[in-house]
Symmetry: none
Subunit: 242 residues, 2 copies
Amino acid sequence: MKNIHIILVETTHPGNIGASARAMKTMGLYSLRLVNPKIFPSADATVRAAGADDILSEATLHETLADAVGDCKFVYGTSTRKRNLQCEVLSPVSMAGEISKFIYDNVNIGIVFGRERTGLTNTELDLCDKMIAIPANPAFSSLNLASAVQIVCYEVMKAFSVNEQTTMIDMPKVIPVERAELERFYAHLEQCLIDVEFLDPDKPRRLMRRLKQMFNRIGMDQNEYNMMRGVLTAIQEKIRQR
Amino acid sequence: MKNIHIILVETTHPGNIGASARAMKTMGLYSLRLVNPKIFPSADATVRAAGADDILSEATLHETLADAVGDCKFVYGTSTRKRNLQCEVLSPVSMAGEISKFIYDNVNIGIVFGRERTGLTNTELDLCDKMIAIPANPAFSSLNLASAVQIVCYEVMKAFSVNEQTTMIDMPKVIPVERAELERFYAHLEQCLIDVEFLDPDKPRRLMRRLKQMFNRIGMDQNEYNMMRGVLTAIQEKIRQR
């Protein structure tokens, strides 16, 4: 499960980073990525890791979430707040079942956890293909960060263990392009929409966000990516012939 | 779920009691019983409860486990260590499924968690009808006490909820456009690709099929459909300006 990366965004309390590392290791997950943590490294983190300090010492630091998920082909965001999103929302069980299909494919998968109080920003959510909603008490849904990591990693471990694995219909697997590549497509799309004067860069409104939320749902593979880049280039060339 | 009692035996760190209360409340469980805790009440417990202090203030104190489980008809002990036990060992999922059958029967059920380092004694285990073994990394199975409580309560909540889907995030339902409308989008897309000379109508190859297979995965709703039709129209108008 070395290709499954737990990504913590701007964690405030270093103790939560340590507790998350411990939660990961108990469930057999080892790759931790930290986006701009408030305090790290920290003695608090090491104490709460309680033997999972190898995960802390191998954790990578990132300036932005875009950087942390750049090599990931599937990116899942976690949330307990209501969001007005046009993306698929999965239970932890469904998410784990989904990623377990890629166990032998050497595909990088990112699971993103937001700030303790405020979660993920809309821009960060746009980097996620799907959301994971952890079932919780509607009257008190404030899971501790490490508890959320614990539940998600627990479901991943269950899905990957032979015992509890259900027999799944062998669906043709679409292996999406890496996130960084998808972002290049979005940049190209944006420029193309400016070129055809559909998008006014001075009044962008929510257009690109809506397009990203829609295209995120595709899980575009390499061939489709190449095809779409070709379409955009053809449009731009046709315009420049004027 | 008021008849399900979480029972912590001789907890050393009061912070773990608070974190367990929080874990319980996030999953809709409210009854906490403490057997001979080392320090309680405690400011550490209240801080870590983070809003679940109602559970702490209503927690009952017991001298012995025998007293704490006295009114329970089913008692489950938890363990991550190998035990040489002659009792049934269940996964958290199986345990939760079992107790969910008694939801309307007003039956008291106790779920027992041992000491942080040493777990439950053999005498205490004799008070348990069955064991719950939380799946964990064989190389590092040391779950934090509150994490173990979190996982068990999470499975209880899942089993008691009608389905596994969360009610927290009101998943905005994407209602796709009718097929006939989608076909109009495809016809428009095809014409647009001919206009920009990306598609040669004399040698169409598999291009439109591949694009349809990709766009089919979106499940485009009415707003997205209108947006995409707008994009195509803008491209065509830009070209015609030549």
